[in-house]
Symmetry: C2
Subunit: 205 residues, 2 copies
């Protein structure tokens, strides 16, 4: 496969066409049933041109998702301690992003969506959780691994967002963002007002 020059106008135009074509096709008929020929037709380009830029469908999808994540990351700001209690949290950005790209998120979350997407999203959210933890400027007690903390929170956010879309967005995005953050911070016992007794965390064996 010839290595194309990414700065060439033709190359950039072709790749952008292919990416947008894939998005449109995913919205129209789901990911799995899409063939390379479909993408080429939709992008109004030759099938062989696809192979000159991407090895397979997954590679193109990855390219698209990178853009989506870049867009999300660009908007996501670090969480400062003061921001923990107001509406300007990165989770708010997340929920607004979901609303803006609702159809796409809906398909990615559904049974027709790709699990690869979810995995990437989980890593992304875990990274956000890690930086949030850093901004708190405290280390976990009881030798709780930070990774455990991060992926616990990441899964919680994604699972909640999936439920929210499934149910047809029963609550507004800003409420979801605040309650989601609050729950991750204070836990279920905080939610039921059972603040005592505070049981110490399990110790690593």
């Amino acid at each position: 496969m010839t290595t194309h020059n990414p700065d060439d106008l033709r190359v950039r135009k072709t790749r952008r066409s292919l990416q947008q074509a894939l998005i449109r096709l995913i919205l129209r008929k789901g990911y799995d049933s899409i063939s390379i020929q479909d993408i080429a037709d939709e992008a109004e380009t030759a099938r062989i041109t696809f192979y000159r830029h991407y090895h397979d469908k997954e590679a193109l999808l990855t390219d698209c998702l990178n853009d989506l994540y870049e867009d999300l990351t660009r908007r996501t700001e670090r969480l400062t301690p003061q921001m923990l209690v107001n509406d300007q949290s990165p989770l708010h950005t997340f929920y607004v992003h979901i609303v803006e790209h609702e159809t796409l998120y809906r398909i990615l979350f559904s049974s027709r969506g790709s699990q690869t997407v979810m995995q990437r999203l989980r890593h992304h959210m875990a990274g956000f959780a890690l930086s949030t933890l850093e901004s708190l400027n405290r280390t976990p007690i009881g030798d709780i691994p930070v990774q455990v903390l991060a992926y616990h929170a990441a899964g919680a956010q994604i699972g909640l967002a999936m439920w929210w879309l499934d149910e047809g967005k029963p609550y507004p995005p800003d409420y979801m963002a605040r309650i989601a953050l609050w729950l991750s911070l204070h836990g279920a016992l905080g939610a039921v007002g059972a603040i005592e007794p505070r049981i110490p965390p399990p110790i690593l064996p």
Copy 2:
């Protein structure tokens, strides 16, 4: 497609062969590169026989995973308040189950796993969270919807388990079960020892 009698010995034998063949093949060469012919060869049956029982590869995989899910449901018990602080929680059952069926869970959690089964697993975990909340015998403060609480916790558990398998099981199952439950109960602020000030939950708009 002829409707086969599931009680017929030949049918049960064939389906079992196909299921086991798929598992073996996934172990050997991954899911994506497996063709129907491969499955038929491995199961020592004719290719057309596959089509007489399953519509496609995904259907066979779903069948395998449904069995897994049923097995987990059978073993999962309600969480009593006393069980919250010891090792006998359903989460312990969950992690032991993952270890026992590690290969299948890897598939389920991987990029090619079925999102449908994942969705069912999420609902299952959410139901478990709901019954846990009931056993606490307290209602959430600040009008927090119980569904939000449940799916927040469910996502956290599944996300954490996925990370744990991805990382090659860096901690023992019983530690994971206890830390997972503790984190859902006490939250991230509990994990960093920041118990005050206790910020009240957001109010529904």
